[in-house]
């Protein structure tokens, strides 16, 4: 029976020491600052189209990367932070947002379609739920080739009502594929709160219907995310089949840059900001690892430099060469 299956209480990962936790903190901060610069660039119309910021959810991507760094990832369009957590440089990402030739997709993809093959970051996708079946295929390949890799698939609470999501769950469980499905429940699909999207607001229940192991937890603490995603990856890697994780998080900004997010109940945002991933990990580093304000200032400074450098790089980069217009439609026949 579905209910009887559960994840190991602890992952196989060692607890983080000061240095490695500091590294994760820096990554979260870098994502935060780069997103803030992206917002600024958007208001200056240097970035156009949609721009979905990850601010508030950094602990999910960074925590997951800390436990599945070599694995395959697939995700939706709110993926700037995920791409960076997985190894894409701030420069390459910002250049793609700016629509430049130096961007991750040569300016073909844009904000919603970041890809980084070198780091097995298999894309940001724009059709809600549409990429979830793709993840089962990546896991299929990994399993057939006995790669001992899993595919981590991120999607939002809004995707948990899509047929594509359900069919992917059915297939992954039937074929016992090594997929870690991560539902980032940030409480809203655009302007619609979860309780108006779904009769059940515990989305990990979706797993029961297909007999899948699942777990729901709060993801504001990067160490918790690292451990639970690690536990899920251990489980899937061991050949036990897929796992559905519902990670409760929160987005501090609107759905996209054009959304004032007036639909939030008064005080909700301030309340949630108390569990800002950066604040939580900063406190932990200060309290348990004795990091000083000076230490944090140093990190802040290097992050500022890196973020600003990304902006400068993107800004200075050339537009795509229009003579390449037809180069991205069909792959050339090898050999």
């Amino acid at each position: 029976m579905a209910e009887s299956l559960t994840l190991p209480k602890k992952s196989s990962l060692e607890p983080l020491d000061r240095e490695s936790l500091t590294h994760l903190y820096r990554e979260m901060l870098l994502i935060r600052r780069v997103e803030e610069l992206a917002a600024k660039a958007y208001t200056q119309r240097k970035i156009l189209g949609f721009c979905h910021l990850y601010i508030g959810q950094e602990s999910v991507a960074v925590g997951a990367a800390a436990s599945t760094g070599d694995d395959y990832w697939m995700t939706a369009y709110r993926e700037h932070g995920q791409a960076m957590a997985k190894g894409m440089s701030a420069r390459t990402m910002m250049a793609e947002l700016f629509g430049r030739a130096t961007g991750s997709s040569n300016g073909q993809g844009g904000s919603m379609h970041l890809f980084d093959k070198e780091n097995n970051f298999m894309g940001g996708y724009g059709i809600v739920g549409g990429h979830v079946p793709l993840a089962t295929g990546v896991a299929w390949a990994a399993k057939q080739r006995k790669e001992n890799k899993v595919c981590v698939c991120f999607f939002g609470d809004g995707a948990a009502h899509q047929g594509a999501f359900f069919e992917a769950l059915c297939l992954a469980q039937l074929f016992k594929l090594p997929v870690v499905f991560i539902c980032e429940n940030n409480f809203y699909a655009m302007g619609t709160p979860l309780h108006r999207q779904s009769a059940v607001t515990d989305l990990s229940l979706r797993a029961l219907g297909v007999g899948m192991v699942s777990e729901q937890f709060e993801g504001f603490d990067v160490e918790v995310v690292r451990d639970r995603v690690g536990a899920a990856a251990d489980f899937a890697r061991a050949g036990n089949g897929p796992v559905l994780l519902e990670i409760v998080t929160y987005r501090h900004r609107g759905h996209s840059m054009s959304d004032p997010a007036k639909y939030r109940p008064d005080g909700e945002l301030d309340e949630k900001k108390k569990s800002d991933p950066l604040a939580i990990t900063r406190a932990r580093l200060a309290d348990d690892f004795g990091m000083t304000d000076a230490d944090f200032d140093a990190i802040q400074e290097s992050v500022e430099t890196e973020a600003q450098d990304a902006w400068d790089f993107a800004h200075a980069s050339p537009e795509p060469d229009t003579s390449t217009l037809y180069d991205f439609t069909y792959a050339p026949q090898e050999g």
Partner: protein, 325 residues
């Protein structure tokens, strides 16, 4: 006459019809509490309440089917796709349910439903968010496919679509919701299947629909300077097609250029071109040319994106080609 935005014209059409007919309801993502992703349904929740202005989860195949079932049961749903790109996950319901139930049931059940939402380019959204679905739906008997460029047409055509006893695919545009136009204060309805001559002319027929009308009008102005008097036929309905207006114009001018967004291959422009040469073969002074998206998935970067879609320059150039014969 009032000058109103196209989004207001569409809203008025829905409001007027909903006041007239209890069985009409609007359903889609963010249409109610958020007042519409593009504010087309602003204020409608307040007026009509949650039973008639209904937010849905992101389950297009599900709620498109819900609309079809409700229509079979005698209601008149308006199903909003936040954009038509997302109708691709609901494609089966629009084709295999909506377009075929009247026929499969031997005429027992009709499906009076409107599927509406923005179509085509919205700028810098990349290839998954820039699809023009015109030909995908116009291909199928059982559906009607309607679009507009002006506020006047938007309102009159949407009212007709809502009153039609058949499934209607109604194509809008994010980029033009804010464009203002004159709309009469008294009620009016524009029958489906009637094209409109947006500019009379004698030298060449420019066939278009939807927001490309604006590029075509710019091109026509430029051509006028060059001494070419273009007639602009705005089809408005792709299915059914107004052959009379179309062919009469080509018979008069002897030349035609079709301009539309979306892909060339088996696009609606191909159908127009094929029909013109079938019907006006002896009159045609030059081949019917088409100006459409270039044959690539829509790139994100502005310079590339603008290369892909039709432009006044490309239209003028095509007209020059047909005039040179």
């Amino acid at each position: 006459m009032a000058m109103i935005q196209i989004r207001e014209a569409l809203r008025q059409a829905m409001q007027e019809e909903m006041r007239r007919d209890e069985s009409i309801f609007l359903m889609g993502e963010e249409v109610a509490h958020y007042n519409g992703a593009y504010k087309v349904s602003q204020g409608m929740l307040e007026e009509f309440g949650e039973d008639r202005i209904v937010d849905t989860p992101i389950a297009e195949n599900g709620f498109a089917g819900l609309g079809v079932g409700a229509a079979m049961a005698g209601m008149r749903p308006i199903i909003e796709f936040m954009t038509w790109n997302f109708s691709l996950v609901a494609f089966d319901q629009v084709i295999n349910s909506a377009s075929k139930i009247y026929q499969m049931s031997g005429g027992q059940y009709s499906v009076p439903i409107v599927f509406r939402g923005p179509n085509g380019l919205a700028e810098n959204l990349g290839s998954q968010h820039s699809t023009s679905v015109d030909s995908l739906y116009a291909h199928f008997p059982g559906l009607k496919v309607v679009t507009y460029a002006t506020a006047y047409d938007a309102k009159g055509l949407l009212k007709a679509a809502i009153r039609d006893p058949n499934p209607v695919v109604f194509l809008e545009s994010e980029l033009t919701y804010g464009i203002k136009g004159e709309v009469p204060d008294e009620e009016y309805v524009i029958p489906l299947g009637k094209a409109d001559i947006k500019r009379p002319g004698n030298d060449v027929t420019l066939v278009t629909w939807g927001k490309q009308l604006f590029n075509v009008e710019q091109a026509a102005a430029e051509l006028a300077k060059q001494g070419v008097d273009a007639e602009i036929v705005d089809l408005r309905s792709l299915r059914p097609l107004d052959h009379e207006t179309l062919f009469n114009s080509v018979v008069k001018t002897g030349r035609a250029v079709v301009v539309h967004e979306g892909f060339l291959f088996a696009g609606v422009g191909a159908e127009i071109s094929a029909r013109i040469q079938e019907a006006c073969f002896d009159i045609l002074q030059a081949p019917v040319l088409r100006v459409t998206n270039r044959d690539v998935p829509q790139p994100y970067a502005t310079n590339m994106e603008q290369l892909v879609v039709p432009s006044p320059e490309r239209i003028v150039q095509a007209v020059r080609q047909v005039m040179e014969r």
